[in-house]
């Protein structure tokens, strides 16, 4: 299968006064299209940093990060915005929905920036919410949703512009274990049925082992172990 993401000797340094913290210290790995990858490791090991760089939210200090062959480190701000808009979808531990907008309006948001017509984006947003099992929650605001529902809205929003990659930063971190399982199953379903490439940061190693094709262990900004898994499905 084709290589979708390729990181070569990726460094990310944060300057804290005199001392420099290396959030990433030479990360090299590749992800093939359709893969489900889990990123695990201790707090502060650089998982979120890596995900943000792949998502085009952050930039690397040195090294290369190629998505579909395009080097993100060489892109200008405008191209990075297009990358975030069309190539990747991101979900977070804290959902990051806009509180003043309803579920359907939140899902429409990426399509607004993509310039879709009102009717078009409303239709797609409703379809996605139906798919997430939120047909009755379309016009609720985030405050009126449970954690699981909010994360489903966030997933629907991440899928709005049909991205090739879903980046999930501890998507179940704020959920109880039963809801967490539901969300993880949803991600698995997306990976299996839609061939969506998923990179997920998690602290739940058993779950990661159950879902993903590969588990990357990070420590102090480095990938210290790549664990091939034999996923049952």
């Amino acid at each position: 299968m084709a290589v979708l993401i390729e990181a070569i000797d990726l460094y990310k340094q944060y300057r804290k006064g005199e001392t420099a913290v290396a959030a990433l210290a030479g990360v090299t790995f590749a992800v093939k299209a359709g893969e489900f990858i889990s990123l695990v490791g201790r707090s502060g090991s650089g998982k979120s940093t890596l995900l943000n760089i792949i998502g085009g939210l952050d930039s690397a200090t040195s090294g290369q990060i190629k998505v579909r062959g395009c080097d993100l480190t060489a892109m200008d701000r405008e191209s990075l915005a297009l990358h975030r808009r069309n190539v990747v979808g991101m979900i977070f531990q804290s959902f990051n929905l806009i509180p003043s907008r309803t579920a359907v309006e939140n899902v429409e948001l990426p399509m607004v920036f993509a310039g879709a017509s009102r009717a078009q984006r409303r239709r797609r947003a409703e379809e996605l919410l139906d798919l997430m099992g939120l047909a009755l929650r379309k016009h609720h605001r985030p405050a009126e949703l449970s954690g699981g529902e909010a994360q489903r809205v966030a997933i629907a929003r991440a899928l709005a512009n049909r991205p090739a990659i879903l980046l999930a930063d501890e998507p179940t971190g704020n959920l109880d274990s039963r809801t967490a399982v539901e969300i993880l199953d949803l991600l698995l379903q997306l990976n299996q049925e839609r061939r969506l490439t998923i990179l997920m940061v998690t602290h739940d190693e058993p779950a990661a082992a159950r879902l993903s094709h590969r588990m990357l262990h990070m420590l102090d900004g480095e990938i210290v172990q790549q664990q091939e898994l034999r996923r049952t499905t």
């Binding site: 998502g55 939210l57 405008e78 915005a81 297009l82 069309n86 990051n96 806009i98 929003r157």
Partner: protein, 468 residues
């Protein structure tokens, strides 16, 4: 992102912070309101003066003097220098000159200036005023084509006189119905129906130089002057003057050319005048008034007259001077309004910066789902623009309201002061001012929104998402 989406986004955002938006917009409304009312006052002032000029045909009026007077030197007190100019006199302003000018095709009418002080007595009341002699033909020209009551002179030698509102006021007479006048006017003035005024006789009293008394031939010890009384019939009364006109232009009384010339008088305006006075018919007049048919003829006719060695003075020149003065007033008034608007724009900047701080996380989310820096910038730019347009529209409305109110109060006040003038509009709100104010408001608010919008566009999404 379509313009419609941008507009919807900014309206939604502004609605979320209603009170703050309202207060910020109120700042713009007051700023634009101040600007509009101030500038429309300046524009009104200018319009009223321009209209007075036009109503009296002053733009097409030339005054022709016999010599190239060195006016600057005369004004600076150098009389010898000014007189030096007079000695270069090459052409008298006599009847042949008058005929020459009258024959010019561009000239509508020309007549010599003949104005002198008189005393008038009517119904036992007396006042000092000036008498101006005009040809009966002037009745066809502004502003004499419109009479308040009665008619213009029937001929140049008719024993007629035309009174003005000011003169009637000086005689403590009022034509208005008593109930329209202030209590003050009612006590001091006598109300008189116009019908009994037209056709009545008025006494014009002039002083003459009595040579016999001057030489001491009669020894009653009186000054060497005696009075002569001329009785003239009141032919008409000039209309109620514009409030901006002065007694100098609208006051006094008018008499026909020939009749006026025959009124015995001793003109004693200055020593120089007394000593240099000669026979006008042969030595020439002091000033000729020339009224042109078209405004565009002013330049050529002036050149031609100057070539004939006359000195020409156009009132239009004076108007240019006045207009420059108005520009200064307009600028001063505009500056006051602009300061109010600058304060309002600081309010916009403050509101927007606050709003960006509050919405940092939201901006991070929008960037994470694919908003470009430019789109974020546009959203905030639009918010500023909406405040500008809203503030501009309501500000123009406020400015208009204030000007109407001020005008109403001013007119009431003037009526209380016993002003004889017709009701006037001090303010003028032309289309260019409305459009200009709206554009200015939009421009100022966009300028104010520029920094906050640029700041919003540069927000780092990773940091913004960590923000709470």
């Amino acid at each position: 992102m379509s313009l419609f989406d941008l507009l919807r986004f900014s309206l939604e955002n502004l609605r979320r912070t209603k009170l703050r938006t309202l207060l910020t917009t109120l700042g713009v409304i007051i700023g634009i309101g101040a600007l509009v009312s101030m500038v429309s006052f300046g524009a009104g002032l200018q319009r009223n003066v321009t209209e007075t000029f036009a109503a009296n045909d002053l733009f097409t009026t030339l005054r022709v003097f016999p010599v190239k007077m060195k006016i600057e030197e005369a004004l600076s007190g150098n009389l010898a220098g000014a007189m030096d100019g007079m000695q270069q006199k090459t052409r008298a302003l006599d009847d042949s000159a008058l005929a020459l000018i009258a024959a010019m095709p561009e000239v509508a009418i020309v007549f010599p200036e003949n104005t002198f002080p008189v005393r008038v007595r009517f119904l036992g009341r007396e006042t000092n005023t000036t008498l101006r002699c005009l040809p009966a033909a002037m009745g066809a020209y502004k502003p004499y084509d419109k009479m308040g009551w009665g008619a213009f002179f029937t001929s140049d030698s008719a024993h007629e006189v035309i009174l003005s509102y000011y003169t009637l006021g000086q005689l403590h007479l009022s034509l208005d119905p008593a109930e329209k006048d202030s209590a003050e006017t009612r006590r001091t003035h006598r109300h008189i129906p116009v019908d009994s005024l037209i056709g009545a006789e008025i006494e014009v009293i002039t002083s003459v130089f009595d040579l016999g008394q001057a030489l001491g031939l009669s020894s009653n010890g009186q000054a060497p002057f005696s009075e002569r009384v001329t009785r003239l019939r009141i032919a008409g009364i000039r209309p109620k003057p514009h409030a901006f006109s002065s007694p100098q232009t609208e006051g006094g009384i008018l008499a026909p050319m020939v009749t006026g010339k025959k009124i015995p008088r001793f003109v004693f305006t200055s020593m120089w005048n007394m000593l240099s006075r000669r026979n006008q018919a042969t030595e020439g007049y002091d000033v000729l008034y020339v009224r042109l048919k078209k405004l565009s003829d002013l330049g050529p006719v002036r050149k031609r007259l100057q070539a004939l060695n006359f000195s020409v003075f156009a009132l239009a020149d004076q108007f240019d001077e006045i207009r420059r003065g108005f520009l200064m007033i307009d600028m001063a008034l505009g500056a006051v309004g602009a300061i109010a608007l600058i304060v309002a724009s600081l309010g916009i900047i403050n509101t927007m910066v606050m709003s960006i701080l509050e919405r940092t996380r939201e901006i991070g989310v929008m960037k994470a789902v694919g908003a470009s820096g430019r789109q974020i910038q546009s959203i905030f730019f639009f918010e500023a623009g909406v405040i500008g347009v809203l503030g501009g529209c309501l500000g123009v409305a406020l400015g208009w309201l204030v000007s109407r109110l001020a005008n109403w109060i001013a007119n009431i006040w003037m009526a209380r002061q016993g002003g004889a003038g017709a009701e006037i509009d001090f303010f003028y709100l032309p289309i260019w001012l409305i459009v200009g104010a709206l554009l200015f408001s939009l421009l100022v608010s966009l300028l104010a929104g520029w920094y906050p919008a640029a700041r919003a566009s540069r927000i780092n999404p990773v940091e913004a998402l960590r923000h709470d």
